[in-house]
């Protein structure tokens, strides 16, 4: 069972580690707050409340109880030997976030932020969702904690992920299809921000990834740090040593930043983020923000961004709706620039091959997002050779992707 963060100092500033951003949320040059003045009060309030909560045993204890008694933590660490046979002989270990309640790592962050919402005395939660995983997790936490829940989802995604729309509605959430712009995740975030600026007195914006304006990147990261902390302990118990590399998929980057932080002070452990290479970087149809983007501001932070020569956002593409985002969390931009983490692109085809391989060799159907990390691990295995140990963040399960996989592999007729 995860332990509450130790409380040693009263002043929140004393609690900052060398990996925390500065007071205004900068990781090196990245992060900060690039949002309308109307939201600055709410962001200040959120920062102040979070700084208090993270040191308050009542809050951290309640969070830990929900993670263990509701979300099902700690999640398992599973070795994948038959899958690893395809990875040049390296050993591969899966951090099983797919086994959490609601089927992905997303539940960690939503439970934390929903508790914080209650603490701030707000009764209404809004969220954005792409594939629907964060929306379902948010609707779940709101049902549990008796909060009104409104989820913005691009109209294109509501059609692609109709089952998740039904799930959210079953859980009592209102799902609003967003018909503006490209009608996908980035437009759902725009619409959620417009709602927030209008209803900020009563409403918390429960952002689903470690991106956006300060304090979201550091707060969301800290709610997901449990992934890396558990995994480090588990892999040491199992193998007696640290892994050579940790692989995680990166869309906005929340599961990656969570697992990376368990190992960030272990310089011998390579941190490898796998971005959606879509149909291939050269086609322009991808979502490989860190590999191909340049710094810019979107949705409240300065970070790497897919943009054209005029600074207009470029549509991202990926077979995985959860990675289909033209921005990325600012801490990843900093980890890229400092060289502490490396980022690579994995194509749709490579991800789908790994998706099928894990299903057939280990009996685990991964989320297509997580299959990008698996594909990255296969390559890393060949690079590391027989003595290599690779930890993979299996961030979610693939139930939601069965329809996509059925079409992709032509598994059933008439789809």
């Amino acid at each position: 069972m995860p332990e509450a963060e130790p409380v040693t100092e009263k002043d929140p500033k004393q609690q900052r580690t060398s990996h925390d951003p500065d007071e205004r949320g900068h990781f090196g040059p990245y992060g900060g707050r690039f949002l309308p003045e109307a939201l600055m009060g709410a962001l200040d309030e959120l920062s102040a409340e979070y700084d208090k909560a993270r040191l308050d045993p009542e809050f951290t204890g309640e969070f830990a109880r929900l993670l263990s008694g509701y979300a099902g933590r700690p999640s398992l660490l599973t070795e994948a030997p038959r899958f690893a046979e395809h990875a040049g002989g390296a050993r591969i270990f899966l951090k099983r976030e797919d086994l959490n309640h609601t089927g992905s790592h997303k539940i960690n962050n939503v439970l934390g932020q929903a508790l914080l919402t209650k603490r701030m005395g707000k009764k209404r939660v809004i969220a954005e969702t792409g594939a629907g995983q964060h929306g379902v997790a948010t609707a779940t936490a709101c049902a549990l904690l008796d909060l009104e829940c409104v989820v913005y989802m691009g109209e294109v995604d509501t059609e692609r992920q109709a089952l998740n729309v039904a799930r959210m509605r079953l859980l009592g959430a209102e799902v609003i299809p967003v018909k503006t712009g490209s009608r996908t995740l980035k437009d759902a975030i725009n619409e959620a921000l417009r709602d927030w600026v209008t209803n900020v007195d009563t409403t918390h914006y429960l952002l689903g990834t470690a991106a956006g304006a300060h304090p979201f990147p550091v707060m969301v990261r800290n709610f997901h740090k449990v992934i890396g902390e558990e995994a480090r302990k588990q892999i040491l118990e199992l193998t007696g040593r640290l892994p050579d590399a940790v692989a995680a998929c990166v869309g906005g980057g929340s599961n990656a930043i969570g697992i990376f932080h368990g190992f960030i002070d272990d310089p011998g452990v390579r941190l490898v983020g796998l971005e959606p290479g879509g149909k291939g970087i050269e086609t322009g149809e991808h979502g490989a923000t860190l590999t191909e983007g340049t710094p810019g501001t979107l949705h409240g932070a300065l970070s790497y961004l897919l943009q054209d020569e005029d600074g207009q956002t470029i549509e991202a593409y990926s077979i995985s709706a959860g990675l289909d985002y033209p921005g990325v969390g600012p801490e990843h931009s900093w980890l890229k620039d400092t060289g502490r983490a490396e980022y690579r692109a994995v194509t749709d085809a490579e991800a789908m091959e790994a998706f099928q391989l894990l299903s057939r060799t280990e009996g685990i159907i991964p989320a297509i997002e997580s299959a990008h990390a698996l594909a990255g691990a296969l390559k890393l295995g060949h690079e590391l050779g027989e003595d290599g140990h690779i930890l993979v963040s299996l961030s979610g399960r693939g139930d939601k992707d069965v329809d996509t996989a059925a079409r992709y592999f032509k598994l059933v007729e008439d789809v």
């Binding site: 949002l35 939201l39 600055m40 900020v200 600074g311 207009q312 956002t313």
Partner: protein
């Protein structure tokens, strides 16, 4: 003295508020946007805000979002904004640019300031850039003699109003209501309250925007603000051409000139 300061000295001498009209550059096309801005100025706008169409306008309601989409679909490129500003300046009009931050950041802050000043633009309104993150822009605006118009909101604390007013030159932009751009039935008491709170921190003129759509509303806002800023209502009329747009601008110009009626 900046040219915006001169403008407000003039309107204060006339004991009236200034009329500020917003239209996006490139809407519906670059050429037509020049004509529409010219019609707005000819009908009595003291200053125009030339908007930069952007892919992710989080501060804007449906009207301006749709106009930005149209402009981008019709081939608007960032360099066109300088061309449009120049067309205003060359007719003797006054223009500031209103833009989300990323296009400026990506173009290069100093380079953008230089090119805007060269085109005859007077300054920049930055809806998603607050003074907290504006170090480069403070330097560039000083360097190139541009005014920097930051926003205050009903949710701004006294401390934030003070910080914003201190960094601002030209005029302070007060957003009348909590929400995105769009014409509204009433601008609300929160605008007057915000202007009152802001005046305690600055002698700068204060413009009120978000929601004004008629001469009567313009007159109401003019009673407590130094500038009445109109966006979405003008953008809606722009779809009907220069004559319709000019008629609304004239009505608004008459509104800001009405003698204030004691409440």
């Amino acid at each position: 003295m900046s040219r915006l300061a001169q403008l407000f000295e003039g309107t204060r001498a006339e004991k009236r508020a200034a009329l500020v009209g917003y239209l996006p550059a490139g809407y519906p096309t670059v050429g037509e946007s020049k004509d529409l801005l010219a019609a707005t100025i000819d009908a009595g706008a003291d200053l125009v805000e030339v908007g930069v169409p952007y892919s992710d306008p989080v501060m804007d309601g449906p009207t301006i979002q749709a106009a930005a989409d149209t402009a981008l679909r019709n081939g608007f490129r960032l360099r066109h904004v300088f061309e449009v500003v120049e067309s205003v300046a060359s007719r003797g009009g006054r223009a500031v640019v209103m833009t989300y931050w990323n296009p400026v950041f990506h173009y290069g802050v100093d380079r953008f300031a230089r090119d805007l000043a060269a085109a005859g633009g007077l300054g920049l309104i930055t809806p998603d850039l607050t003074p907290d993150e504006a170090g480069d822009w403070l330097a560039a605006s000083d360097q190139h003699g541009l005014d920097r118009i930051f926003l205050v909101a009903p949710s701004s604390s006294e401390e934030r109003i003070a910080l914003t007013a201190k960094a601002t030159t030209g005029f302070v932009y007060a957003t009348a209501v909590m929400g995105v751009t769009g014409a509204r039935e009433s601008v609300g008491a929160s605008a007057a309250d915000l202007v009152g709170r802001t005046r305690k921190h600055t002698d700068l003129p204060i413009g009120v925007g978000l929601g004004v759509r008629s001469g009567d509303q313009a007159a109401e806002v003019a009673a407590f603000a130094d500038a009445v800023i109109v966006g979405s209502a003008l953008v809606t009329k722009a779809a009907d051409g220069t004559a319709a747009l000019g008629a609304l601008a004239a009505e608004l110009a008459e509104g800001v000139r009405r003698p204030a009626v004691p409440a």
